[in-house]
Symmetry: D2
């Protein structure tokens, strides 16, 4: 078992400057904690609750910024893609391709992501059982790409609520894929604010700690210098000023869980 | 309140001959019952449980067959699309564009479907509350297309199980969209057979009758001459030989519900 | 299949006068509709959300009132019991013993109810699958009482929410017991108002109609002259002034469902 | 924050000898681990899935055995009660009164347990939200007994399945009650084996570790020398031979979580 990695960053790429600044700060935190960190950033929020929600800079405008973030911060970069075409394009500038939860069963998208040769992080759909991810992982692996991760981000639990079943972590690990716990979207309240989704930021440390104690390869945790004014996922992002302490605490549980 | 319409057909377009034959039989049933019927057919099952499951003929090969079915049977044709490009192409040969449940939040797809000018039937995601469909309907309508239908097809209920909340029918109707009840996928057991989804065909009449008594604009009900040998959704399709009697019975409840 | 019966009345026995008056009005409605009606009344709300909620008159004080209601209205009376001792006592004055949903697995209570020789209506626990009721029904029947009914009143669906799975009606009927649909508690929002439960009275007709169309032996539907001022279940009781029209409408669906 | 306590023992009191032997072994384990341990034992399984399941020795026959276990092992003893009368009787021989999950809303039972003056451990109903426990705790406290614990044992999640929401632990702790995590019944599959409940013993360490990392006052964990031949809860009890190692591991996480 290897030491925990973090997948972290603001939900959206808000601007070149914003991306460069946050990635630089996260790079410094990762150095201080001596831990692997993958910078998460999105060029498009393609499934916002309503049409009027901010969607981001778009793929074409974002690619050079992704490249610049990668170069200047020295961090690997992850982004999520929504079509087969985007997978190919994004792979030019990022290190990890992520498949959104709603799209985790779209075969063409999974194959296109696999064919980039980049590691693929597949979010488990809110409508899937942990064991259903076996077929999802196989779709990527059978397309020739064994570098596939399975990410828990909550299961539908009644209306506008998700629940994190910690049994899913060992179940998905048993399929041979590194398991990621998404502590940000697991505390989302989908649709819970009428035209946007709500969130319970206060439970990010609770669920992240539980998952790390069980044992995971990585924790996905969005962070932002000013979450309350972020264009998306504000209610469930961790303030950047609190990120380092929380990550350090999780590393203690990781070391205990893995005997490091 | 207008008389119930049926959306019916086999899950997949299996071949030109198969499509022509089944659509002809459904046309005759619709004539005998004096009821509107939209022929449902899919050119691609894009989100099968596993990579080895049959996916269908593909869009390009299917378009001329869709056109021929429409012309020969005289029935309007509905198909489901998975990308913005497919929406544009499919609109050349079909009368109704359908958005799959997993994709009901993908803004670009909804806008592309809206821009075809065709009526759009949006399946409610298994992960959505009924009231979340207000924003989904608005995405289509705000893109300039008021002809949008909302379709109930079950909500996630624990693992590998869906439940049909009949309250969703009046809730979605309150948003001004005609409401469709999908009696086929509501009895699906997602992922329930390991590498394919299972189903409970025996409960199709139960749920369809409940929905029609509550009051819906249309019932979506897949049917097949030989469901047990169909390439997909076999466990939840109604045998074609039983379709007419079931539809006739539902029309009795519809007449009572609407005072027709 | 026999014509639908109603189980109706206010949630609690509020006073002798209140009970006599409401039961008399329900008797007149039943006569006008030519339908069987069992008067439902509770002497104790033993599991209120909070300690300060009103609980009712208690068993001893209620027994003579139950007897008087039965005699004057000519309606059979149903009440719910919470201990084995109460079952024996209540049987002296009522015609049907009801087991609350939370208590549907308490073996001693089920046996005591069975041993009264009265028909027993067991509410399905919010935590039970429909097929779990097979063992519950058998507990009563194996104690020597074959007159046991199974009542659907919603299943837990996330927090503070219930959902009515219409498949439960034929599943429970397959165990040989008459099936009751409780349209009042199926629209309850347990704990949803902090120190009391909320409810969605507006969906009583929706769910009742769906259940009757599927086919049930009886509908349980609480009613009150002034629900908004009732001491319990106000948010989900039907105003008495609307009861007759709703019941009459349900009888139309019942006649169609059963070919009466 | 005080060091973790264990509540452990076999599901049922099978015989005097069995109880004395297991309690003695648990006492030795507790001494070696230098940890508090409360011996859990039941005199009656009052809500078994079916009538033919074994129920235990009964309260009267068990009371002297409980007293003997307490005296010989030196461990405090906990048992669960199902009626107000049983609460009074049991309090003569045990140190902690437990309220079963199905009965957590029965006001008379909670008050009777409170009035014994003994600490009361209330299992959260599978049908309750964490915040609903505020009123439950208040029922005991307002009856004059502030020594009330709240126990998480899983929430209904579809049919025959429970899910453990780790957010419930801090939510219930915020009401001022020590929080217990029941790792045995959280992995129960209610009704999952037809006439008995199934279980997933393999996930006991997973969920217990997650809960302890989040932070709890006690872990409830049934254990048995030969679970596969136990009369109840066999599928989810930890073999006694594995108990000490698991408990020791949990204490490491507890020490890290609480900075002990």
């Amino acid at each position: 078992d290897r030491k925990l990695t973090f997948i972290a960053g603001p939900c959206q790429l808000e601007s070149r400057e914003h991306g460069l600044e946050v990635s630089q700060q996260l790079r410094e935190i990762a150095d201080r904690l001596n831990v692997g960190l993958i910078y998460k950033t999105s060029y498009d929020k393609a499934n916002r609750t309503s049409l009027s929600s901010a969607r981001g800079m778009g793929l074409e405008a974002s690619l050079p910024v992704f490249a610049e973030i990668r170069e200047k911060s020295g961090l690997p970069v992850l982004t999520d893609v929504h079509t087969a075409e985007q997978a190919k394009l994004a792979a030019q500038a990022v290190d990890v391709i992520q498949i959104p939860a709603f799209l985790c069963r779209q075969t063409d998208l999974l194959i296109a992501a696999a064919e980039t040769g980049k590691p693929v992080n597949v979010k488990k759909g809110q409508f899937l059982a942990p064991w259903d991810m076996k077929n999802v992982i196989a779709k990527v692996a059978d397309a020739g790409n064994p570098n596939v991760m399975a990410c828990e981000r909550g299961a539908s639990f009644g209306y506008n609520t998700l629940v994190s079943d910690m049994r899913s972590l060992p179940i998905m690990a048993s399929f041979g894929a590194p398991v990621v716990f998404d502590a940000t979207h697991s505390v989302q309240q989908p649709g819970g604010q009428g035209t946007t989704s709500g969130g319970q930021r206060e439970f990010v440390p609770t669920l992240a700690r539980a998952a790390v104690a069980v044992g995971v390869a990585a924790v996905f945790m969005e962070t932002h210098p000013d979450p309350d004014n972020a264009p998306s996922d504000g209610p469930n992002m961790v303030p950047l000023s609190e990120f380092e302490a929380l990550a350090a605490r999780l590393l203690e549980f990781d070391a205990l869980a893995k005997g490091l």
